[in-house]
Symmetry: C2
Subunit: 220 residues, 2 copies
Amino acid sequence: MEIIARIRSDFSGKFGIPRQSGLVEALGAEIVFEPEYRVEEALRGLEEYSHIWVIWGFHENAGKEWSPTVRPPRLGGNTRIGVFATRSPYRPNPIGLSCVRLLEIRHGAEGPVLCIAGGDMMDGTPVYDIKPYLPYVDIRPDATGGFTDRTVKRTVAVEIPAILRERMPAEKIDALEGILREDPRPAYQDDPDREYAFEFGGKRIRFHVENSVLKVTEIY
Amino acid sequence: MEIIARIRSDFSGKFGIPRQSGLVEALGAEIVFEPEYRVEEALRGLEEYSHIWVIWGFHENAGKEWSPTVRPPRLGGNTRIGVFATRSPYRPNPIGLSCVRLLEIRHGAEGPVLCIAGGDMMDGTPVYDIKPYLPYVDIRPDATGGFTDRTVKRTVAVEIPAILRERMPAEKIDALEGILREDPRPAYQDDPDREYAFEFGGKRIRFHVENSVLKVTEIY
């Protein structure tokens, strides 16, 4: 398995990354090919697809032992589910699968760069393959979703004071709000006094959550 | 990348395999775990999902050179498309991605075996990962499909004489008809005198196609 590209995203760490691809559509990122794969021809026709599959590596988990069961955050963190019944990163082969929107193929000094939206990958993530999303086979209207059908999608209201909002590049505000709306906290934590922090777009974001309202307290 | 399982299917060769997963729902297959991955717990909860993703290797193509462009059979075989705009097997990393229906998890001497339908993998295909198909993120209703939106889905009428039909195990007849209905010929071949043959379920099937009617001429 060769690394054909790397993700360039606003996440320097894992906290805050949406739990699945497609949840935060305002979240932009880029797929930058490795020098030997900067071949324009290899992408011919891809611009006609609205969505692509990205097969990538959980490089932060490489070499770690896998466990037959995991505790999905969406189930409150204390129910054990088989690893193959989840998209958990702690798998025998640490491979990730994401469906993202293809916004544009930019051409420049780095060769063709795929501008994508709705990703869930950390900055620097190695990419092994890119495939078109084929609606006629990839949309399975009758599919049922196991425990994900029964868990309530929990979102929170987001408050970012105007003075902090200005510290964020304008084009990243929608994405930041989208990330926060998904509530990045583990599902089993609901302590209004607990302060959380993560990095996004080169800024450090601090927040706490009380009564389903997420308040940003610092951006620096 | 470790092989966690192998596909057990009725295809000993590539010819006849549906072009994508999900096209022939009557086509059954099995995913048999390698001895060290026969861990019942690792599948706990998977039975609640109707569909799964299988990430696997095009082992027949391993080690072959990749080409930046390929000629998809659906485009008649003479239009070049970038390899990343197709699901072609000749990719920098020969990884396949299939969505299949999960019929049952059987438990026995081989550990847990996943009984699946709608696959597009050869017998012996190495499997690297299994993930649940998550309808809430994997169904993208607004996705557009590039050239696959414009090519007409070409199926043929299938005729299998009663005397040949009896030579096939009864439970494989529907699958065989489904495979043939998809017209396994390359799109650019339409010669009524040309005879085709392939192996399916341990039998050799011979057929020819005239005026969109596929006639099976021999099963042995």
